[in-house]
Symmetry: C2
């Protein structure tokens, strides 16, 4: 449900950039026709190297944008960003980032790019952008509401209502991984608190749990469960048990979130969604245990856009800001 696009003059393009803890990805999102879905072209990426500090990450991001600005066909609507960290819904600045990205807190991402390139720029959190992409042109298109659940290193998500992402008053909405889970007991979460769903449902948790039951057989924690899934597929019982436990715990958490939000559908995304049928069936089992009676048939589907989702969402966020005549962030030379 794109908002009020009637007055845009097609075709046009948007420079979209997605800054994560591992890489900075960028592309040109082309809007050729009001009835066609946007095309993502000229995808490029560089390592984020967040240990170099927030200023360096912003400089790398600016460099990626500069290259795309040169390549983008005119007219250009502006720059749409999606970044790791909590993004202020009012300014597009980084309101909060954890220790994985030192010096990222406070970076005036959108304002900096708007001033540097003399075009409109917006920023939103990468998870919110991912959800917005799926809401506009992916698995959640035309749904009244949807809960996107992203399972990767951590566990994040977003609640989408009438095609828009609920960002929250502080930009924090959707931190599903940091909600309580009855099976997480007193496990410590990456955030420092205890009892969080992320501790038993994320890709990291999957690998950690597998390694606890097979301490003599270390596997790379960054594999996000691929290796565990491979071993389960090969019939290894411990791998099967781990996938089953983490999937069921995730399904229980999804049931719990649905009891709070009652979305029309749940969309699964992130690197762990390829963990296979054992994991997927466990999700359905856990969900059935926890979802209230009228919610038991809520569809749980997979995302459709993959890594293009945050870029499309970032572009859509820029267009929303332009269309709604919000001062999206800043004009050049403010």
């Amino acid at each position: 449900m794109p908002l009020m696009r009637g007055f845009f003059s097609y075709p046009f393009s948007v420079v979209a950039v997605d800054v994560g803890g591992t890489k900075i990805a960028g592309a040109i999102v082309r809007y050729d026709d009001p009835d066609a879905r946007p095309r993502v072209e000229g995808a490029t990426s560089v390592p984020s190297e967040p240990e170099r500090g927030g200023d360096a990450v912003l400089a790398s991001m600016t460099h990626v944008v500069a290259q795309l600005m040169e390549a983008a066909p005119t007219p250009l609507a502006g720059i749409g960003c999606a970044t790791a960290g909590v993004v202020s819904p009012r300014t597009g600045d980084i309101a909060y980032a954890n220790g994985i990205m030192p010096g990222w807190t406070g970076q005036p991402v959108a304002r900096h790019l708007a001033k540097r390139f003399g075009v409109q720029a917006t920023n939103m959190s990468d998870v919110h952008a991912h959800a917005l992409g799926e809401a506009r042109f992916g698995a959640a298109t035309d749904l009244e509401s949807c809960l996107l659940v992203g399972i990767g290193t951590g566990l994040g998500g977003a609640y989408i209502l009438k095609g828009n992402v609920i960002r929250g008053f502080n930009g924090v909405a959707g931190h599903l991984g940091h909600s309580l889970h009855h099976q997480a007991g007193n496990l410590e979460c990456a955030c420092g608190a205890h009892g969080h769903a992320e501790s038993i449902t994320s890709g990291t948790a999957l690998v950690q749990r597998y390694q606890q039951v097979r301490p003599g057989d270390p596997i790379d924690r960054t594999c996000m469960g691929d290796e565990v899934a491979r071993r389960a597929y090969a019939g290894e019982q411990r791998a099967c048990e781990t996938l089953s436990f983490c999937g069921e715990a995730l399904g229980q958490a999804i049931g719990s979130w649905c009891n709070i939000l009652d979305p029309q559908a749940v969309v699964l995304s992130g690197t762990v969604v390829n963990a296979g049928p054992l994991w997927r069936e466990a999700i359905d089992r856990g969900f059935a245990q926890q979802a209230l009676e009228p919610l038991k048939s809520t569809p749980i589907v997979e995302g459709q856009l993959g890594s293009a989702a945050p870029l499309v969402g970032a572009a859509e966020n820029l267009l929303d800001a332009l269309a709604l005549s919000f001062d999206p962030v800043a004009l050049a030379g403010e």
Copy 2:
């Protein structure tokens, strides 16, 4: 933020009725002036006696409405209902009710009243109506978003965005009590599932937990913690420990919900909110443990409208339906 009220011709009145498991309350809600808050007048109530079955409850409700229709000053905008159970957001019928109200599921509450009295009628869940009342004229007035938490026999709530209650695709949104809690372990909830926040945070849970530590000293479970609070105030250590545990667990749950929803404020309502400073301080302590860093200063305040909230919310829901020119439910004689 009442919606589009400009074309209403003041003064007018609404017959409002609130059907719970214990009593059916009704009143006339008077809108005398666009700038004044509505006045709740002529409050009346009868026992619900739900064990008599859904048809009997609907008959009692109809009787309460009939009396109020006679007393209501004209012009009358219609009938706004708030009822226990899950209410279909599309029809106002009872989509689902638990065993406490046998035969309540399927009752066409709003359609029945519209036909019977020849006026417009709407229905929404009582918890949603309570939240809508607080959003329009109580503790959540003018907030961008708010999470209402109702602590009584059970634990319910509602997320309010821009003055409107998020009902969910099936009308189930806001069942906060049926979200997971890391301290609930494998405790069985009233709904039959395990590990739910309600099991350790509701008024019922408060009394149950106190009785476990003082098995030889039974107190009435329907007191909703008043007696436990009284004993705590008198200095009884077990009562203090119980209040402290349940309050802290509730605060943790509120932190967890804020990590998902990031509301501008949290509003506490329900019969347990008078449990005293020990309970209230424990909520703040638990919240601080669980809320993510940018959310730690989210205000947690008390509701302002008390038992008038669902009646005001039910009236507002009717007016929204009229103002938005939705076919609110049905016209007489359909």
